[in-house]
Symmetry: C2
Subunit: 237 residues, 2 copies
Amino acid sequence: MSFEDVRALLFDVFGTCVDWRGTVIREGNALNRAKGLSVDWGAFADEWRGQYAPNMQRVMRGELPWTRLDGLHRMALDELLAKYGVQGLSEAEKDQLNRVWHRLDPWTDTVPGLLKLKHSYLIAPLSNGNLSLLTNMAKHAGLPWDCVLSAELFRAYKPDPRVYLGAVDLLDLQPHQVMMVAAHKHDLHAARAQGLQAAFVPRPFEGNPERVPDLTPDPEFEVVAADFMDLARQLGG
Amino acid sequence: MSFEDVRALLFDVFGTCVDWRGTVIREGNALNRAKGLSVDWGAFADEWRGQYAPNMQRVMRGELPWTRLDGLHRMALDELLAKYGVQGLSEAEKDQLNRVWHRLDPWTDTVPGLLKLKHSYLIAPLSNGNLSLLTNMAKHAGLPWDCVLSAELFRAYKPDPRVYLGAVDLLDLQPHQVMMVAAHKHDLHAARAQGLQAAFVPRPFEGNPERVPDLTPDPEFEVVAADFMDLARQLGG
């Protein structure tokens, strides 16, 4: 197995392609000014993102019916607005805020790197974000996907094997012909367990700056790249 | 209901966006030269395409298990190669020929029209072609889709209502916010029956030139356009 076999690159999105924390802070600060609020949107973003994994796990354990990520984001948002004492937002304003996840900004290397990689590979997201979220984000951020693959298509959330294998099947490829690209090792380990290849692209500025992410290379991964331009150089894309 | 509500345009692909007949003839004639064959590829293309509807109906009646369009194309191809006396193609050559449907060329107005429409609308195919076929075709032809929607995602073939309603659900829209664009009235009637809007774009050069297609306007459709540039003008896209 060599990465010369690779035909398609599947990208984790939140954190790997786009800067969720910076975007939530920027839009939140604009809301502070518009509404006379004084929310600490860095802390708010961290808590909002923090409820993502446990809420997905509730779905996967069957404690919640299938719920797309927009719905999980909204459950968490309603709790956090109460916790942070934010009152007086209309339903339309809450919906607009919830859809900040559709409007996340890319890292500076994301679009130029994807454009280079697209010359040689089929490129698609493989994210727990729902299909409309990922499609709206691609329009907003100019992400030049060849198609949009979402965990929603398989009614399961990563790291469930059905998501990785379902994507490989829709692409009509073999697992070793597909490489998962992510800033998060657990996503890559889950992909490799299903026979996909893995590229680790650490994103040191993804999370709360006071938390040090695990950026150490892992010899298990086929590629470790500094950013998407470096990934394109290493893959010859 | 007005087409001012429309947020997303879903496109039929074979015949509406791409010229299946012209492309099969061109690639087939190249195969004639390479292999010393004398196949009439216009007739071959018409018969190949002609087996599409009855084979899909066999799937939808449960006489065949779920089979993606690549598989239905291959069943028909094997029959037609025998009927036309084409012998001596390797498995790789047959597979390559079967994938001509992944390499169909667009009509001249298709890409410029889609680029204009993409400024104002979410644009996606909604085709009976499988997802990998549609994605490979988009790369080949430069079709600038925002996402790729295929009947394969719903394990049903148009005109089954699940295909239209499944696409609307994945886009998180209401049916009247979605407009189906097609050169075929039966597709548009099926979409309208589920509450979608409809744009008829006749493609007089789609089929066998000896067969006159039904190009008469139908007052039931919200839009009738001469081509995709005209569609963009009418929709203000």
